[in-house]
Symmetry: C2
Subunit: 240 residues, 2 copies
DNA sequence: TGCGCAATTTTGTCAGACAATCATATAGTC
DNA sequence: GACTATATGATTGTCTGACAAAATTGCGCA
């Protein structure tokens, strides 16, 4: 077996030609594989192998890879192909900082524009999250709940551009988010922080909510980056 | 002649197969055409016509269009193809707001991280701009000078992620930037505002510089959006 | 053991094909 | 004559196969 070829753990049913644009299915499959770490950061994505595994043509694979590249999930090096994106510590730090200011904007817009129903829904998502954490649910579920929280915020902010940018940013740091929530005590802290944000939002205090949101992401960043620094690259190029 | 096909004004030498990846050349050609308004917002980009005009294969065209879509310069509607992106007033407003917070971040990073030489260069670019405005240079040149100013800021901020995001945002509002600078008195105001930013940066006053930068973009936004509102769609679908 | 060259792999691009979908024009109906 | 339904054409989505150029690998040679 040559250096590092794809492991087959993420083998989804070769992408049936069910309904939607085939390319979308390919993108979804690859995205899931990357976010679930079935494909490891830095790993090469060789077109021929993807063709075999997903059962679609090179045309489709290449378009999908380019889409993922624009999402920041893979990096396409000219004449060398695509690799799974692996943000360095510095990059990750930058991404978190950018996310902090953008989420602040989202919160401000939410307070200004969101429909009343969304204010209630925001509270509900926080309590859902709190319940999950209270009964010690696994990280994956907590993360999903947190995504719903941000999802409600974005929906209320009514800014497609913000939504698109933030989705890209979140995808790029997805790896680290799980890390952050795994630190002892962090889930409880997260609940407290989000409750604070929600409370400020409920009082229509945009400035405070926005600041709390930025704080929250900064704290998450510190935790995640710290963990990343400890682990410090458990995955160099060759690992045969 | 059918409804609205491409005008040939932007016909660049059919993209010679000179050196770099062909796709890059196609992307560059289309980007220039869009930013220069040779291709008008809302206009359909039919693959076959692009093939003929640029002399490359459909594969290449399609990949290029997808790249441009990820930059936000074109919008790809499934099953209907690509059209030149046309930001609505609301979208444009959002984009400017996002740009304001991100440029603020850039300025802050610049103050914290930039090499001394860049501080000097920043001053130089402002004075270049001032000179151009003073002798009433055309809008295109002034815009280019302004881009150099932002370019120096970005370079000093040393954040690839920020750079990438801002390039995308700037591309999307490019159309409006020209409009903004065409308003009487605006160029002189721009010079004053940028001088203020540069001065604050020179004093290493990150907070002030950052706030001034946000202000500057807000003002530009108001001017541009106002002009946009007046013009209010001089380009509906059919114009035979 | 180290280096350079050749064989192989992989990407970039092309051409042509086809089904599915969208757009338009035509014909039939009220 | 206006309106709807169908047919016709245009356009996109996807596939196949091909080839040159660049990168990678492996081998032979010094």
């Amino acid at each position: 077996m040559p250096t590092n070829s794809l492991d087959d753990s993420w083998l989804v049913p070769p992408v049936g030609r069910i309904a939607a644009p085939l390319r979308e299915q390919v993108i979804a499959a690859l995205r899931r594989a990357i976010l679930d770490l079935d494909l490891r950061p830095g790993q090469r994505l060789v077109e021929r192998e993807l063709i075999e595994r997903l059962g679609v043509s090179r045309t489709t694979i290449r378009e999908a890879l380019r889409d993922l590249a624009s999402e920041g999930l893979v990096t396409v090096v000219p004449q060398r192909g695509a690799i799974v994106a692996a943000p360095s510590l510095d990059e990750a730090s930058d991404l978190y900082e950018i996310r902090a200011v953008l989420e602040s904007l989202v919160v401000r817009h939410f307070v200004e524009r969101a429909a009343p129903a969304l204010f209630e829904e925001l509270d509900r998502t926080v309590e859902d999250l709190a319940a999950l954490v209270a009964r010690g649910a696994e990280v994956r579920l907590v993360l999903a709940a947190k995504d719903r929280f941000y999802g409600v915020l974005i929906a209320g902010a009514q800014s497609p551009a913000l939504q698109q940018l933030l989705e890209g940013l979140k995808a790029r740091v997805q790896v680290l988010r799980a890390t952050s929530l795994s630190e002892p005590g962090r889930p409880e802290a997260v609940v407290a922080e989000l409750r604070g944000i929600a409370a400020a939002v409920a009082r229509r205090d945009a400035a405070l909510a926005s600041r709390l949101c930025a704080d929250h992401i900064h704290k998450a960043a510190i935790t995640a980056l710290g963990a990343l620094q400890d682990a410090e690259d458990p995955m160099p190029a060759s690992e045969l």
